[in-house]
């Protein structure tokens, strides 16, 4: 396989993963969720951030999985961790203890202040769609020094008003979060399939500040349920390098192989 060919096109997921990975620095303590955040954090570890500390809420601290976990508590995470502790300890001593630099969150909906809904579409008592729920998100959102949100943009996901606030971003903006007593600085980036949104000073409303190569910001605005502000100087995010893409694809390939091995029960 030629690396030039392999690097040629990439999917939006790959672009988002690479963008998220680049935001993580060597030594960063990262509270990781399953899916794209886990891929991004491990990609960072395999490339520019070998000393990144990955913590999964299942209780694994400093884990270095060879393949990506499908669930938040795959055996691979425990087997390669520096420490495996009870789950209540992870939330009390490590997350609430203020030891997390970056928490990753996804959601079904985000609003202009980075508040997230992962609980319900429609009224809580009579849901149109019952989603899995908040899980670790409310306290990750409160306590991580900063939060990165990863979510594809659409009018359904980037909404003017959430059906339910599962975890707090900047609440109503304008300093409301700071006054709420939340220790962490809140969401500092929303990584989408168009680019990156960041909170604006003062208002704390998210605006598009960076776009991927080839993206028309007008498309990002159309894919947003509120009138999305666009920065005057819009940064352009470099496409995935060959090294990034190869590492990510190799990671996914290893993962695929490992997860498709049939399980043999010893009974």
């Amino acid at each position: 396989m030629s690396s030039v060919r392999a690097a040629a096109p990439w999917t939006p997921d790959e672009m988002m993963t690479v963008t998220a990975a680049r935001m993580l620095w060597n030594g960063c303590v990262c509270f990781v969720g399953i899916g794209l955040p886990s891929a991004a954090a491990n990609l960072a570890r395999l490339l520019h951030a070998p000393q990144i500390v990955l913590i999964y809420e299942s209780g694994t601290i400093g884990t270095r999985p060879e393949v990506l976990p499908l669930s938040i508590g795959d055996g691979e995470l425990a087997d390669t961790a520096a420490a495996v502790v009870p789950l209540p300890e992870i939330f009390a001593y490590w997350l609430q203890g203020g030891r997390i630099d970056v928490g990753f969150l996804g959601a079904a909906q985000v609003d202009r202040f980075g508040n997230l809904n992962s609980t319900v579409i429609g009224p809580y008592a009579r849901p149109k769609v019952r989603l899995p729920g908040a899980g670790g998100a409310p306290e990750i959102a409160a306590h991580a020094r900063q939060v990165f949100v990863v979510l594809k943009q659409s009018a359904r996901s980037f909404v003017p008003k959430l059906d339910f606030v599962s975890s707090a971003g900047f609440l109503d903006g304008g300093g409301a979060r700071g006054r709420s007593g939340a220790p962490g600085a809140g969401p500092q980036a929303i990584i989408t399939d168009y680019g990156v949104l960041r909170p604006q000073p003062g208002t704390e409303e998210f605006a598009l500040v960076a776009r991927y190569e080839g993206v028309d910001p007008a498309d990002a605005v159309r894919a947003t349920g509120w009138p999305l502000a666009v920065a005057e100087r819009l940064e352009v995010i470099a496409p995935p390098t060959t090294v990034e893409l190869e590492a990510l694809r190799a990671l996914h390939a290893r993962t695929q192989t490992a997860h498709s091995r049939p399980v043999e029960l010893p009974v």
Binding site: I34, G35, E57, S58, G59, P69, L70, S71, I72, G73, D74, G75, L77, A78, D79, V84, V85, P86, L87, P88, F91, A92, L95, Q96, N115, T119, Y124, P127, K128, V129, R130, P132, G133, A134, G135, G136, A137, P138, E139, A141, A142, H143, V165, S166, S167, A168, L171, R177, S180, G181, A182, P183, H259, R261, P262, V263, E264, L265, P266, V267
Partner: protein, 284 residues
């Protein structure tokens, strides 16, 4: 602390209407016990579990539950827990009352329960709608700083059921690997049932390992493979293919009902369940 069959353990210790917690966070989920509860037709249970995934999807869909206390309910890495969704969205097979927390809140509830305190404290639920919809989430004022902190009531299940790697003949149980809130949920309960992969002469537990001593356990049953399709570190890995297959099985009421009839009600025990699944090509 007797070592019994799983059937005996469930018959003797799980009652209709009980608050029951099957814990295990991704790892060591007591699937065999959940299915035996279905097989024995328990009703009106208040199910408690941080992550009601397939094990409670089966129990809710089979009509065992009237209420659910939880913090995340889905098919991990796959999508929805369809049976739980349909119970909440459409009241099928019966309405499901929900008491919803965050992971941190629920963990604090188990910790309080294990310590026999009436409540747990956390700096949690900040700015969320969870407290608005769950009247169990309240607050206290710190007597030193004046800060208001969230509280959750202690979780004290009537019965907690865990799966673990090993028991010795006295019934001491060793849990190794990802622990979730298993120990706390176990110590918070009035009765604690444990299924294990094997019963051994000597646990050979390393220093500071997680061992539940026999005298806090109500009954132990040896059920090899009892965490399948989740996993037991050192015995078998997670069967991701079944989690994916479950999405199809559980999406449709009839297909789900047929699956429960054939594989749970149609088999005498978990060994029979695994044998039929294997015969049908659903297990390697």
């Amino acid at each position: 602390m007797p070592i019994v069959t799983l059937r005996e353990a469930i018959e003797a210790h799980v009652r209709d209407g009980d608050a029951v917690a099957l814990e295990g966070f991704t790892h060591l989920i007591p699937f065999a016990a959940g299915q035996e509860i279905i097989r024995q037709g328990r009703r009106r249970l208040h199910l408690i579990r941080m992550t009601p995934d397939l094990v409670y999807d089966q129990m809710v869909g089979a009509g065992c539950a009237r209420a659910l206390t939880f913090s995340w309910g889905g098919n991990p890495g796959v999508g929805s827990a369809h049976r739980i969704r349909e119970a909440i969205e459409a009241g099928w097979p019966q309405p499901l009352e929900v008491c919803e927390h965050s992971h941190a809140g629920m963990a604090a509830g188990y910790v309080a329960g294990a310590a026999r305190l009436p409540f747990g404290v956390l700096r949690g639920y900040l700015g969320t709608d969870l407290a608005r919809h769950n009247p169990a989430i309240r607050s206290v004022e710190c007597p030193y700083t004046g800060e208001r902190l969230a509280t959750v009531p202690a979780l004290n299940p009537d019965v907690t059921i865990l799966h673990a790697q090993k028991a010795d003949r006295s019934g001491n149980v060793l849990i190794s690997g990802i622990l979730g809130a298993q120990k706390e949920a176990g110590l918070a309960a009035r009765k604690l049932l444990v299924t294990v992969e094997e019963v051994v002469e000597d646990l050979a537990a390393p220093m500071n390992a997680v061992v539940l001593p026999h005298w806090v356990i109500t009954a132990v049953a040896c059920v090899p493979g009892g965490a399948w399709p989740s996993y037991a570190r050192g015995y078998y890995p997670r069967d991701n293919a079944f989690y994916i297959a479950w999405d199809e099985i559980s999406r449709d009421r009839q297909r789900f009902t047929d699956w429960i009839a054939r594989y749970v009600h149609g088999t005498p025990d978990f060994a029979g369940f695994l044998a039929r699944l294997r015969a049908d090509g659903g297990l390697a």
